[in-house]
């Protein structure tokens, strides 16, 4: 995937976010571009600091680009919705091995293998060659094997997780690749070693550090070890090591925190899933956007039946719509059904143009006329006009012409359509025009109605997420208070060594983030594994990844906000107040 493709994917993602549309899939280019940008940024920083020289910076960038260009395509795109398919390529080795090709075992000759894999072998040989020259830490054989396992190992793990998530083989991996490419990679590594041995001085020059390009700040009267001078990365490492140490000393609190946050996330996801069953999801969104069901007409707009039918023709011609089930009901309807539990229910007349002549009527077999069933040949009077029964069937049907000549004013009629279908998706202005022309009470497509319903479901999901998050965060805050109090001595030490408020604040925020991130991941895994349990509870609809990400954001934000007062209190205290004693 070239640079242009990466930019295209990124641009399309940004456009989707700005438009407020749902993100269904990440094509991969965005992640690759992000990796590349981060690499370039870090290389520039390292170069400016003097850790590496310009040539090495360029080579690092090149190796990262080659890696994401050639190796990451195996991961493919990231879909946020479950795949609707699952197949196992003819192997019945279960979900693990069924996802992987093993054509290697099916091949008859070495030439066949070379034929299929020769391009990849060349690429990987080249990559390994460049990597070995660029990175000092790839020089030894065991280091090469670490690189080899790392190259393919994480891809296999990601694919397994993806396919577990999607409940099907959404990404397949050729297990033959790591086996076939090992000799090629070894060859690349070997060649690089030979080249290095023959050009040792040039290699040393490449690996030598560059000159720093930043001004050295004047050192104060502080101790030799000062937190001011250390890099951001080292800051982060220091914070993470302190967090790990904290966990060892307060293991009961740490375990309880993980447990509480994990259960909170699982509860939120479960509630999402419970509410998700109320969502209306269409397989064919296009058809749902063009179908308008249960359209009722406000007859006050029309003086006569002719007016109505003219309006209908206008709309048909202008917007290419078709309809089914144009029904008419009279206020004084002699045809009715006797429904158990409801009593008398008036029948409606379905207007048709085929298989019926003027003066004829088709009657539903269950319909009653003045308390009795009609037979073929009987006469009945509807709307001041006499009709002869010519058919007994499933519907009560009347001819269009007879509708026009019924002796009933528009106020005495109720007109409705079973459904109206448009040839194209109509915009808001067109829908409004049809609604006004036909005099509909409402003119909403199935997709519009579903969107409204789904919006209210989403609102309910957000509400329940906030409710559970608030309940959980109040517990989490109390636990974090313990953590902060137990860390007070450590904070005092940091202060003594010149740590600023930003460092201490970032310490706690990263602390909170780490707990929430790990608990979120564990909760996602457990939730995914319990998919079968949810299905046995008739909860088959899965909530979207964006909703889960929203839950993560809400819990994290609320945790930070609710912990702020305690954090500000800690920041205001001097080291002596934090009870530092010799």
């Amino acid at each position: 995937m070239g640079i242009i493709a990466m930019f295209k994917d990124t641009y399309s993602l940004i456009r989707t976010i700005i438009a407020g549309d749902r993100i269904d899939v990440l094509w991969g280019g965005e992640i690759r571009l992000l990796c590349l940008i981060i690499t370039v940024f870090l290389c520039i920083k390292a170069y400016k600091k003097g850790s590496i020289n310009i040539l090495k910076a360029i080579m690092i960038t090149v190796t990262v680009y080659l890696y994401i260009y050639l190796m990451m395509p195996n991961i493919g795109q990231i879909k946020f919705e479950p795949d609707n398919f699952g197949f196992l390529l003819g192997y019945d080795d279960g979900v693990v091995f069924g996802q992987f090709w093993r054509p290697f075992y099916l091949m008859e000759s070495l030439s066949e293998i070379l034929d299929i894999y020769k391009t990849q072998m060349c690429y990987y040989m080249l990559i390994t060659f460049i990597f070995t020259i660029t990175y000092k830490r790839l020089y030894k054989l065991w280091q090469f094997f670490v690189f080899y396992i790392g190259t393919f190992g994480w891809i296999i793990i990601v694919i397994l997780l993806k396919n577990q998530y999607h409940n099907g083989a959404s990404v397949i991996f050729d297990l033959g690749i790591p086996i076939v490419l090992l000799p090629a990679m070894l060859a690349g590594w070997g060649l690089a070693r030979i080249l290095i041995a023959l050009n040792r001085s040039k290699y040393d020059k490449l690996q030598a550090a560059g000159r720093p390009h930043i001004k050295q700040k004047e050192k104060g009267d502080r101790a030799a070890i000062s937190l001011k001078g250390i890099s951001q990365v080292k800051h982060l490492c220091l914070i993470l090591s302190e967090i790990i140490r904290d966990k060892r000393s307060e293991s009961a609190v740490a375990i309880t925190l993980y447990l509480t946050i994990t259960i909170s996330f699982i509860s939120i996801f479960t509630c999402f899933r419970v509410l998700e069953k109320n969502k209306q999801i269409y397989d064919d969104i296009d058809t749902a956007s063009k179908t308008y069901e249960g359209v009722f007409i406000n007859n006050e707009n029309f003086l006569s039946s002719n007016d109505f039918l003219s309006a209908l023709d206008t709309v048909k011609n202008e917007y290419g719509i078709s309809y089914e089930g144009l029904r008419v009901q009279l206020d004084e309807m002699p045809l009715y059904y006797d429904v158990e539990g409801l009593g008398r229910v008036d029948d409606s007349l379905l207007l048709i143009s085929d298989n019926i002549s003027s003066g004829e009527i088709h009657i539903n077999e269950d319909a009653l006329y003045n308390g009795t069933h009609l037979n073929i040949g009987d006469e009945c009077n509807i709307g001041g006009k006499s009709f002869i029964v010519t058919e007994i069937g499933e519907m009560t049907e009347l001819c269009f012409n007879d509708f026009l000549s019924l002796n009933a004013s528009m106020n005495e009629l109720k007109i409705s359509f079973d459904n109206i279908t448009s040839s194209e998706i109509l915009d808001a202005a067109q829908k409004e025009d049809i609604k006004n022309t036909l005099g509909c009470y409402e003119f909403e497509s199935e997709q519009d109605r579903a969107s409204e319903q789904n919006r209210s479901v989403a609102a309910d999901q957000i509400l329940i997420c906030i409710l559970i998050a608030v309940l959980s965060v109040l517990v989490i805050v109390s636990l974090f208070k313990q953590v902060m109090l137990s860390s007070s001595k450590r904070i005092a030490m940091f202060r003594l060594y010149g740590a600023k408020d930003v460092f201490i604040a970032s310490f706690f925020i990263i602390y909170i983030f780490e707990y929430i991130a790990i608990s979120f991941t564990v909760a996602m895994v457990i939730y995914k594994l319990c998919g079968g349990v949810f299905k046995s509870f008739y909860l088959n609809s899965e909530s979207s990844v964006s909703m889960k990400a929203y839950a993560f954001g809400v819990v994290f934000l609320l945790s930070v906000i609710f912990n702020l007062p305690q954090l500000i209190l800690m920041l205001k205290k001097k080291p002596a107040q934090l009870a530092v004693r010799r």
């Binding site: 009961a252 609190v253 309880t256 925190l257 447990l259 509480t260 259960i263 909170s264 699982i266 509860s267 479960t270 509630c271 899933r273 419970v274 069953k277 006797d338 158990e340 539990g341 009593g343 269950d366 069933h373 559970i468 309940l471 959980s472 109040l474 517990v475 109390s478 636990l479 208070k481 313990q482 949810f534 509870f537 008739y538 909860l539």
Partner: protein, 364 residues
């Protein structure tokens, strides 16, 4: 004992917000448990009635000419069909359903209080069974003149025989139905003033080996519908409806347990200093554990009491109209909370080991 309770209360107050959160979680858990257990009770009761009355061979009589079909059936077997007449009720929520004698002969209607209707006995009024909501207003063994609430029309003199168990009625249209406000009456003398009544028939084909062959046409034309068809469909629908409550119950149970464990951990860590002072003043470890247990008991008691009021309120809402909020379920949920409390107390015992307390004393 008073000093232990006052010590426990003082410890409880140290984290009021957390206690309130736990209370809310426990209340939701108990309410959901009550709803789920109520559904379970209804399911068990319907199954019991189904098996006892052998409803597998029952048929709903439908169709345009059901009266003729019923006559034919009665002539064929020499038995009477079960008839159910819905008539104008006391108000919009309360129906009066008049059962024929054969209904009482075929169905053993379970009562939770009082007794069932004896069709051979002369009660001096119209004997009836009522549901739980009406039992708050009408006493068993008393006779009442019932009038409609909207137009004060006198319906008749009714003698209250008993209260229907779990408000579970046999429905002539949908197998079994939970109806919190209904009256089942036996009116052989047709004393009840009827208006807008609807009549339904159910036929018991038990013992008629050739019934299906004899009435194959009616069964194929859906004039006779097997009871099993409705029973299994309604069961499936009810199961789907209750499942979200089951999940919510499990979720909030997990939240409550984790919240309580968190509370115990926090309180034990924070109250170590207090425990150290108690030790210095001569308290024994068993006394400190007792105080901790009383504190946790109070923490669990509060939501149990609150849930009683919440569930009473829920009974008057839409949830209460459609679901049985079982008292047994409520008690079981509170018992479960107490079990959790015992586990939490044991946890606090484990955490309050001598080394921790002595370290704290040394620090002081």
């Amino acid at each position: 004992m008073r000093k232990y309770i006052s010590a426990a209360l003082s410890q409880l107050v140290f984290s009021p917000l957390l206690a309130v959160v736990l209370c809310i979680e426990f209340v939701v858990m108990i309410s959901c448990f009550s709803i789920c257990y109520g559904a379970l009770e209804l399911d068990r009761l319907s199954k019991q009635m189904y098996n006892e009355s052998n409803m597998h061979d029952w048929y709903y009589v439908r169709g345009a000419n059901e009266a003729d079909l019923v006559d034919d059936l009665e002539k064929y077997s020499g038995r009477e069909a079960m008839s159910f007449e819905f008539t104008e009720g006391l108000d919009s929520d309360t129906n009066i359903i008049i059962y024929s004698k054969s209904v009482f002969d075929n169905i053993d209607i379970k009562v939770s209080k009082g007794e069932g209707i004896d069709t051979e006995r002369d009660y001096g009024a119209i004997p009836c069974l009522i549901t739980s909501r009406l039992s708050e207003k009408y006493k068993i063994g008393e006779t009442y003149d019932l009038v409609t609430s909207f137009d004060n029309k006198h319906l008749g003199r009714f003698y209250i025989c008993g209260v229907i168990k779990n408000d579970m009625l046999f429905s002539p249209t949908e197998a079994f139905r939970y109806e919190p406000s209904a009256i089942i009456a036996y009116d052989p003398d047709e004393q009840i003033t009827k208006n807008n009544n609807m009549l339904f028939y159910v036929w018991n084909a038990t013992g008629s080996d050739d019934f299906k062959a004899q009435y194959k046409e009616q069964i194929d034309n859906i004039d006779l519908i097997p009871f099993d068809y409705y029973y299994s469909s309604i069961k499936e629908i009810k199961r789907r409806e209750i499942m979200p409550y089951v999940l919510l119950m499990i979720v909030f149970s997990a939240l409550s347990v984790s919240g309580l464990i968190a509370y115990v951990i926090i309180s034990n860590t924070s109250l170590k200093q207090q425990a150290a002072i108690f030790l210095l003043c001569g308290a024994k470890k068993i006394q400190m554990v007792l105080i901790s247990s009383i504190r946790i008991f109070l923490l669990v008691l509060a939501p149990s009491l609150v849930s009683v009021f919440i569930i009473s309120y829920l009974r008057t809402t839409e949830i209460g109209n459609n679901n049985l909020l079982s008292l047994t379920g409520q008690i079981l949920a509170i018992a479960l909370c107490l079990l959790i409390m015992i586990i939490a107390s044991l946890l606090s015992v484990l955490l309050a080991n001598d080394r921790n307390i002595s370290e704290k004393v040394r620090e002081m």
